[in-house]
Symmetry: C2
Subunit: 448 residues, 2 copies
């Protein structure tokens, strides 16, 4: 869809048919136009953008990603930049300003109208990843003593400038949030009724410093389209709309997935990272792992006499440590995901550890027996089979428990549980696994 | 919030103050009541549910998860079951029926009104994970020759039974979708205008068999609240609402995370799986890994003469294979996530492989040098250092490429890329890593 549109626009550019470009873009969805601009070279994107009528241009701008927005602003006249910055969504503007260098933000702030500048400064004043950063002040507010007809007239009059008109909020004289109602309820109510009598006084709200993950969870739990935000005095200061929530969920899930995959600095998409940055964030974790693996190297060194006496022991080392690592990853994945979706909280710690212990014992018995058989067939030596089987049992039990403990511990220490699924887990499982392996071998085979 | 409510309800139950329960629940949000019911024992939940007024009861039911719904239905009279099944959201009903045994579905279908039974059967006829399964038929449709005033009267008259009234769809006499408009546009238009003249003919739509992942992506790309669904003839058959989309995104992300974590059967939450099921799905993957690791065991066996001649070689095996596994996991995580969010598609294959090769070479040189130094310090033997460093270089290059290739291959084979990040990656990296290691050792140290 947008690929086709890009090709059409490029063809028309070559033919210098600028009116043609204008005509097909005016019929397109702002989101598709934003994708076309992202596919074009910066100069061409700026040129095409200037062909758009003002209102469409602003809609298109809102749909671009932050990198695209930055690039586009560079290629526009400062008049055009001022128009866009004044009329774009306030929440998108906050997101854009977050990414820009302080000097550029200062320049852009000076292009805003007095009123918008105050709003922008207020929104930037809230902590990162907080509800305050996500909100817009373009909501419809009603008074409690208005009639339904008066309220409807107010909605009609102010609708064009508002982010949404489907949820309306009732405030007192000192701007305290008293309640809310949907446009549906307003339309269905008799015209002479008072807002006070039809509003719902118990509505969900968050405060400006509520974390964005909690915001997303409230949207999910209550199937909301809009969520009002109040300050510490209970005054209505903004609303958060549903479209921001999907972005938060995607962003948080990507962050978790990257952390679990052993990628240090999260939140970046694949192509937005340069190779140098990519090497840096991957290399750091890998180097840490190489250092931590000194422990397992030293254990093997300690037991080198045993190894020399029974070289066949070495054949099972990869299987043993990889299986332990995989089982630990399974547990930590389950727990980390459960914590992220809110299914698991700190009250469940004991239940989880018990459950992982039981699972570990069962898996250990079954797979330990399986490994015994495999080792026996491979080496024809029941002693080696016993050593491998018993060690695998212990390794599975330990790795299951460690895999569950690490994310729970991370949560207690208030760091992201997803971090723990990486090198630490591998190292702990390797060290414990190898020690158990050689100690069992020492006892059963009478080595070293 | 809901914990507190649960405690209050339990206290009132003990005091047999059923009127008190009724009173506090009537003031609570249906989502919070649903959480209270989930926390209570089945019998108590059924009892409390019966205290609720009918409309609230239906709202609460919609907010419960599928397991909770099943349990609750068991404890209600068939009159009450019939009421709920007839009045609950159609999309939630489809989801519920998907999970129930065929016999129960048949019984429940017989409790539906003629009209609702037809709808339910139609919705269940669409493929799993398709748009048809997610939709509801409770939309507002307008005719093109209606005036704005007539349309508004129609909206008011039908609003109470509709899932949403904020997006309205215009259909022809044979029910073909002609266009759409928002309630906002309708309210702001002059009363005598024709719908035909204010509707937007270019609206986003999907067909009944569109995959739910694509549905979610369209919602994200276009910031939608509602998406209309048409059949193969272009007739409007239903709408999908925003609240389903968050669930899809969470579900798809959980599925990916579980698959990447080496957990076979995805989509289940932590506590919804019994320990036996849990053991089965984890054990299968782990057993597969143990079998596949026969390859690495055999390689070690092949080179046992080299190992006996230089036992120190074994000290670095865990570091080598773990680092390879981690680097491969990093690549495959990045690529798999990029595929899931739509950032990467099949046109990028060549770019990605080139990029991973470059990253692999850079990481290989830096970390290979690092490993050389570490091995030299540990063993005081520059030869061992060379063998470890050179092998690590090759391992990092190979694991980066394999980590990128496997998800791309999975996409080509039309299976889920996330599956590939598990045991296969580990095994390939182990086998290649060990072979390279001992071959390099043979050449440099003149072994075997």
């Amino acid at each position: 869809m947008s690929n086709e549109l890009t090709t059409n626009v490029q063809d028309l550019m070559l033919q210098r048919d600028y009116l043609g470009i204008k005509r097909i873009l005016e019929k397109s969805h702002p989101s598709d136009i934003a994708k076309v601009l992202a596919d074009l070279l910066p100069d061409a994107a700026g040129f095409v953008f200037r062909l758009l009528p003002k209102d469409l241009a602003i809609d298109v701008f809102d749909f671009m990603d932050v990198d695209g927005k930055q690039m586009l602003l560079h290629s526009l006249s400062s008049d055009m930049v001022a128009t866009i910055l004044n009329e774009m969504s306030q929440d998108d503007r906050t997101e854009l300003f977050e990414e820009l260098p302080a000097k550029v933000v200062k320049k852009y702030l000076s292009l805003l109208s007095e009123k918008e500048r105050q709003v922008a400064n207020m929104l930037l004043g809230y902590p990162e990843d907080s509800a305050g950063r996500l909100m817009t002040t373009a909501f419809v507010d009603l008074k409690e003593h208005q009639t339904v007809d008066e309220a409807l007239a107010h909605v009609r009059a102010t609708a064009p400038d508002k982010e949404t008109i489907y949820h309306l909020y009732v405030i007192s004289k000192d701007r305290k949030l008293l309640g809310g109602l949907s446009l549906r309820e307003l339309i269905l109510a008799p015209g002479s009724k008072l807002i006070r009598d039809i509003m719902n006084p118990e509505i969900k709200k968050v405060s400006t410093d509520t974390d964005q993950e909690d915001v997303a969870r409230i949207f999910e739990d209550y199937d909301l389209i809009v969520l009002p935000v109040v300050d510490s005095e209970g005054r209505l200061v903004g609303i958060i709309t549903h479209d921001d929530v999907l972005d938060i969920v995607r962003e948080e899930d990507t962050e978790d997935i990257h952390l679990m995959g052993g990628l240090g600095a999260p939140e970046e998409t694949y192509f937005s990272l340069s190779i140098a940055e990519d090497v840096k964030r991957r290399g750091g974790w890998l180097a840490l792992l190489i250092l931590l693996e000194s422990f397992s190297g030293n254990i093997l060194k300690t037991y080198s006499a045993s190894l020399e006496a029974a070289i066949a022991l070495s054949f099972f080392i990869p299987m043993l440590i990889d299986t332990g690592g995989n089982a630990g990853t399974q547990s930590s994945t389950l727990i980390t995901r459960g914590l992220a979706t809110g299914e698991i909280d700190k009250n469940h710690s004991r239940t989880i550890l018990l459950r992982e212990m039981i699972t570990g014992v069962i898996l250990g018995v079954i797979l330990g027996a399986f490994a015994y058989v495999r080792a026996y067939f491979m080496q024809g030596d029941p002693m080696i089979g016993f050593v491998v089987g018993i060690s695998l049992f212990v390794v599975l039990l330990v790795s299951n428990l460690v895999g569950a403990l690490l994310p729970l511990l991370a949560m207690k220490l208030k760091c992201d549980p997803a971090v723990m699924a990486g090198p630490f887990l591998t190292t702990i499982v390797d060290v414990v696994g190898l020690m158990v392996y050689f100690e069992v071998a020492r006892v059963i085979m009478g080595l070293g």
